[in-house]
Amino acid sequence: MDTRFFVTWMEEITAAVRAARDHLTRLDAAIGDADHGTNLDRGFSAVAEALAARPPATPGGALVLAGSTLIRKVGGASGPLYGTAFREAGKTLGETPEVSTAELAAALEAGLAGVRRLGGAEEGDKTMVDALAPAVRALARAVHEGGTAGEALDAAAAAAEDGAKATIPLQARKGRASYLGPRSIGHEDPGAASTALILDALRTVGSR
């Protein structure tokens, strides 16, 4: 996976987030403050612009630029969290021009660690971590089992999707939804849903 691959991934996310913007905002309206879709739409539009304006030289450079842009443009909880995830992932990749599935797995693991450190959420708290953590695990497992890159990305996307859906019956313990107590039960977490979108975009780019 080269720089082009990662830039395309970001473009794919931008398009997916744009398409899902109102859906994400509606999820956030139910248990948050109705801005998650517009937040990410604003953020990833800026990411696409930044990548076009300052084309990165490496996969890591692409992810760091994406992360920094999200931090600069999104605000809210998701801006620093996603921003940190992409930055940490990018920093892990270093200067490598070509990323293996194993290196990608390690990078996403670092991204997850960044989200955990910053936000303090555990799995089961009904946050983006509930989609990101299983995705990272699935990717690591696929690498360990020696599957193809396509299989690995498939597995990660499916795990993220399942993790997002699995937030529905949970009671939130982090983020705004936690204010609702038991009333947060029965709704999908918007950040987990957007994480699933991001990993779905990764699968899409990988399958081309």
Partner: protein
């Protein structure tokens, strides 16, 4: 959705243009989205910076001026500002005595202000923080993001601002801010949801005879839904929640705050009941505010915030202030 806007994408910028046109005592950096006191930075004075999502006007921009904030950073609607913006405000108001960040306790606000503090620290600005978390509707436990910051933000900004104006050092200003927060409690009630321009539809649905108890200020649903009832009864629910958490007594600063769409008449009716409740508990509303101070766009409803005063806090509250939304003594 009918709103007095030009474009969903430009509401924050257009609002800032209006603030700039209306208030010559402010300097508005529309591009970076910062509302400065015109005379900032003031050499030797601790700078005060606050910020948060837009949609809560007059919070925070309406509290920039003599005796209160030096700068405010509005984010997108209900979205905290970004680190660069806050850092630019912070370095912009530093008069050499350091800067206090007044941050409402929401994950987004906390994270973005933290990042900004790091950036400002890199620039050599000393930054302290007061975290406001006055909302008793949210149990503070391991299992939540902690209490939300709501109405007490205004009290912290006013009182810390007065102390900063008197030339006190950063640690002292931060200390009094924390003291105000510790002594303050809030509870909010919604009669209607609000509609953000971007979403275009109400954030929740509420029947003709229902209210939401324990709401925050972001249009989120509250802790429970209940049957609508007399103002007197609703006030009792709100005040009981406050009193259970921090028993009311003595001289009290009280704000009955409208959520943006509530007629002032109704806020006075609520205030009459709040004052009666306090009296029952042996407390007295010696200072008060009744009006729209910390809002949620067009939501109908109110919040009540109390602060147990001390002689020092009362003096700081009474000190002159000159901002668009709070002004006396000048």
């Amino acid at each position: 959705m009918k709103k007095l806007i030009n474009d969903v994408g430009s509401v924050v910028a257009d609002t800032l243009r209006g603030v700039a046109a209306a208030h010559p005592s402010l300097r508005v950096d529309v591009e970076n989205r910062i509302i400065f006191r015109r005379d900032a930075p003031r050499p030797g004075k601790v700078g005060l910076v606050s910020g948060g999502g837009s949609g809560h006007e007059p919070l925070h921009g309406g509290y920039v001026g003599y005796g209160m904030l030096d700068a405010a950073c509005p984010g997108e609607i209900f979205t905290s500002p970004v680190p660069d913006q806050i850092a630019t405000a912070t370095t912009g108001v530093d008069g050499g005595a350091g800067v206090l960040h007044i941050v409402k306790n929401y994950t987004g606000d906390v994270l973005n202000f933290e990042m900004a503090a790091e950036l400002s620290g890199d620039e050599g600005v000393e930054v302290a923080r007061v975290l406001v978390d006055d909302d008793v509707a949210v149990r503070d436990s391991l299992y939540t993001a902690g209490r939300r910051g709501t109405g007490a933000t205004l009290f912290v900004e006013k009182i810390a601002g007065a102390l900063a104006e008197s030339g006190a050092p950063l640690a002292e200003v931060a200390r009094v801010g924390r003291e105000v927060n510790d002594r303050s409690r809030s509870f909010g009630v919604a009669l209607t949801p609000c509609t953000t321009p971007a979403a275009g539809t109400p954030t929740f649905e509420l029947g003709d005879a229902e209210i939401e108890l324990g709401i925050g200020i972001h249009g989120e649903p509250g802790r429970t839904r209940a049957a609508h009832r007399e103002a007197r009864e609703i006030v009792r629910l709100a005040m009981d929640a406050i009193d259970d958490d921090l028993p009311l007594s003595g001289e009290t600063l009280v704000m009955v705050n409208g959520m943006g769409g509530t007629p002032l008449m109704e806020l006075y009716i609520v205030f009459a009941e709040v004052a009666a409740y306090l009296e029952e508990k042996g407390a007295t509303a010696v200072r008060s505010l009744v009006g729209d101070y910390v809002t949620s766009l067009d939501m109908q409803g109110f919040s009540v915030t109390t602060c147990a005063l001390t002689g020092d806090l009362t003096r700081l509250w009474d000190a002159p202030v000159e901002t668009p939304a709070l002004r006396w003594g000048r």
